[in-house]
Symmetry: D2
Subunit: 362 residues, 4 copies
């Protein structure tokens, strides 16, 4: 299934080299003014650029097929379509299984009828419509003072600063959201790019981590057990291709602490209950506690690399060597970060409407 | 919501110090012989024991309320109830917020009407019925040759061996499943216990990690995007209280590798396509590839500790010091591991029935 | 599945002659004061009574297992259990298929492992917990000025008056809700009972129709297509055993009218847009228009009758004659009507929370 | 929401006079050869024709946007788009509420931002993509020997023969499926057309009923309570605009029978258990019993009529007279029947995959 959502249901479609990709967004109220410049700005951030990305150039010229009249949502399903243009399907061989891609699993699942060209429905390109979705959701969340922002917290073994009680603010997030390649400490950016370009030169690829913060969300959203904030967010984050890990607050590192170090003590700040530390990442018992919600995702190195790889020809069932040509990102991290922001915005809007419904959206 | 499931819907209920806890399991076929000894064995593993656990003793004597006649499922909703017995509600003060518990978030969400006694519905005790669920699911999965097993991969900074291409097997998992406190390398067990007891003596607590393997699952289960195996599993795993991180295959560590190191090269073994490494954790494009599915979860140190903690009295809105009495596990890891196994078994049964339906269950 | 609900999820369990029946109601907010007298009053209305019902006497003494503390909801799953007491399982022969019961279909679906005693999970008795659910939902809806009421609009070919623009009011519905056997025109009641008793004397049974009104619901709830009010209500109404038809407004009769007769013309009444007629039953395009929502359901004659019936012995696969003993209602209509009210109240609460969320419930 | 489905999720989008309408169909297996001629044939049946329909001519030239490669499904979401062409938006006045249309309810629900042109998302035109869906589902069901067919059982007060134990057969259904205006007794067709044309001449409209049969479905599909066949089918049928009633088997008429007349007695026919009558409509306890599944739906007279109608101007909040120009069907019944067949085919495919999964589809 490429559908999700209880309050705002989304249906994602398209293949990398098919006619078009797109999304249907159901159940948004009528009368929302959509800021299309903002959508284009957000799409532009995800688009490959300069020498650190693939040379495939997609203009992402989207069309609004339904659900929008004179710039406002009509309340009916809102459908966006993005035609594919710059495709080079002949670069793809249907039967040579690319390691750590979905080629093999797709063949098994779809009886070899999958659209193998450019990764088909498994391509990162399919996340483009999610950026449109996220842009609209963010526009709505800002009415509640909720801001979502991320930074590339590491590329390979090189690390940015982290979000903390001190440095986190709406302003920081807004600054990050203006950037194609957002980092907290600007001086790290050159190191990141250098690592990526070195990998590119070596016909190889690198991964990294993305840290995200949600600021301005009031306490009381979410649920224990199966609708915990962690469950909802991780479900959506792990649907992004290349994500291999998700952790909240201190995450895996918390296992190295004593309880007395890990616990977030409460105090009162101007009549508001806060915690001195935020190792819980703003969530307790699956429910927001009013502190920033913090999480980190692991993005694997791009599976497509220029180096020769040992693999299998699915048709002849013989082992062979794969020499990928095609066009690939030496690191997908600076592009996936915008998808992480987008899907997070959608998750937060789901979270809020599950409790408050839609009446707050005018 | 404390409900989940598309094919086999579960509904979890109960509070730690209420009358009873339980679960309704809907849509299991009729005619499944339930092995109650096996359920009791699995429950016993999760039960607190010896000096490394809480002294609260619950016998977990469950009652089958519906859906089972003469030892076989009837096909109607299968309901289990476990009465609560050994409760000491007077140990709990309703208004002193326990740090890193759900006390504060519950008060906000439920307008202070939550059952605060023993953590109410947020208590780890509520996971007991999940062990019953998992036991039944495992019994069904074994008919397909699927085995699920976990080991405590770390307690604080002390680590067990990890699952790998070489050591993983049905037999290893079966051995782990016989143990209350499963580890791969038996010699690590004493170190683990020592760390836990040291924490206990210091009125403190420790966390750890759990690594899980699913062996015997055929390729082709799961979906890209919102029904990826990672999405399904992480959704359920993060619904377990105390889980702060989930990673698949190499997880966060994969971000330190080059693509050429991270990619799992294909080869042919006796006519079956396999991968030489399993950094992907048995999943590509959200779909099983026939290799063992591997993931790791981070369990935080128990939030309940004996040490005095700074916190807030919610009623008087003043800061205060909390001195917890009550009974607590100095580490919840050796108990949560059985819940991780249980919820994984349920997830795998969901996964399989979403594709194959129920006709394979006789 | 015996589960339903997007905002308030319910899970129904139990078999007629099993240990107990019950329901789990998930996602109700904390702090709702439950009126238990009202629940008992509503249960009493559904209970068999006098000479027109079965002689099986169930006290419906329910227990609150979870989700309620000191009379208020805690916000956690609210679970009710009703132990079965007055069962006579030996009246039931497992293999003689009772015509127009679910005996045959259950055997096929559940591989003959179904609990056949008293109809098992197919029994009308399983609707008892729905009355508890409906009672709670009604209590909440009254805070919004919404009243739901029904009358027995026909027993066999004998008809009560119908709801119309003139006679319908909160007061009428409140009066109907006080009655075990609600009718608009009191003089029809004796005729109804006479028809039922004649059928009883003849070892036979009769059916009838129930007309329901929902008053006080504001315009704008519901959706076109798959979440239309009609879709939601019919889905739930057809889940009640014995319901064979559902129609809204003029229903099937509207097919005999010209469009110019069927259309509901708009006018303005004290600044509020209303319709002169209400052939649409308060719904246009799947959405409430502010007029009373009206629908009618058809209830078949009780399938259990004393008369000998030709049927099949499933085990020996031979034809045979069935002579039912057991205890049966000569007409189930005066009991089902309370289930129709209950499920309608639940449907309306779903409808409202899907749009408005839960913040209006204090 | 305009989404539905547990196993095969559909997402419907578009507005009558918008850029395009369409549907996303998720979770169909890969490798299904789609018969496009059959889709076009089915679309053609629904298309307005001759003098008994609207003069709006839509060619329904659909485009496959995703999910299909070389004529076979890829397993990824299958998306169809149908551009709108023959629109005359200036015929529509945004503020004069058309009686018994969704104009008023849409304004309330969508804050007057709805696309009012041609009924927007509420238009019957939006059901066109459902015919494509139904065509594909029927193609799959035929592999299981399941045939679905309908006839116009009445136009106003003129009635066709009904489906019965004797006349129903795959052959009859196949014959009905070849016709634009299917009836059992051909001689009734002229009467039907005459009634429709008389209404048209009078600037009025008429409704009717549609009776549908599902033949070849094995016993054991469906569930008691909330996933009963009746619940599933009625949910989908009531999502079709203009449907006001749904009844199964004898439906409302069964309330006039004694139990001894209504019950379907079992007998054995060549080793197969059947019922002598089929008043239950092939369903007992929500589950198929192997007999043909039978139901009837009531279609109201087209709300758009040429006669002047009293109504309200929503903007000025004054009463006024509406003189509709535009193009309308004097009876929508002969067009809706093809949508009823389509949605039924989809419902049956849902039903079967919920139990059997997808492995039977090669």
């Amino acid at each position: 299934m490429s559908t999700f959502g209880k309050m705002i249901e989304i249906s994602l479609f398209g293949e990398s080299h098919g006619k078009a990709i797109g999304i249907v967004i159901s159940n948004l109220p009528g009368g929302i003014k959509i800021n299309f410049d903002r959508i284009n700005f957000d799409l532009q951030k995800r688009r490959p650029k300069s020498n650190i990305s693939t040379s495939r150039q997609e203009k992402d010229l989207f069309q609004v097929v339904s659900g929008c009249l004179n710039g406002y949502t009509t309340g009916s399903p809102l459908t966006f379509i993005i035609p594919n243009s710059d495709t080079r399907s002949k670069d793809y061989q249907p039967n040579i299984l690319r390691p750590s891609h979905a080629d093999y699993t797709a063949k098994i699942k779809y009886n070899s009828f999958e659209d193998y060209r450019g990764g088909g429905h498994f391509s990162g390109r399919i996340t483009t419509p999610l950026v449109i979705l996220g842009s609209i959701c963010s526009q709505l969340l800002e009415r509640k003072g909720i801001e979502i922002g991320s930074h590339v917290s590491s590329i390979k073994d090189c690390n940015d600063e982290v979000f903390g009680i001190e440095n986190i603010s709406n302003d920081l997030l807004k600054r990050l959201n203006l950037s194609d390649f957002p980092v907290i400490n600007d001086s790290i950016l050159e190191s990141y790019k250098e690592i990526i370009l070195q990998a590119k030169d070596a016909n190889d690829s690198v991964g990294g981590t993305i840290e995200t913060a949600i600021v301005g969300i009031e306490p009381g959203y979410g649920d224990p057990f199966f609708e915990s904030i962690e469950s909802l967010l991780s479900h959506l984050l792990f649907s992004i291709p290349a994500v291999k890990g998700v952790e909240f607050g201190k995450g895996f590192e918390i296992t190295n602490l004593y309880g007395s170090e890990a616990n977030d003590n409460f105090y009162i700040d101007n009549g508001i209950i806060k915690t001195k530390t935020n190792n819980s990442g703003g969530i307790q018992g699956g429910i927001s506690n009013g502190m920033p919600i913090l999480f980190k995702v692991a993005i694997k190195p791009t599976a497509s690399i220029g180096k020769p790889q040992h693999t299998v020809d699915f048709e002849s069932m013989t082992e062979t060597t794969l020499n990928l040509v095609g066009r690939h990102d030496p690191s997908i991290v600076p592009r996936v970060i915008h998808v992480v922001n987008a899907i997070t915005a959608y998750a937060v809007l789901e979270l809020i409407t599950r409790k408050d419904g839609f009446s707050w959206i005018k």
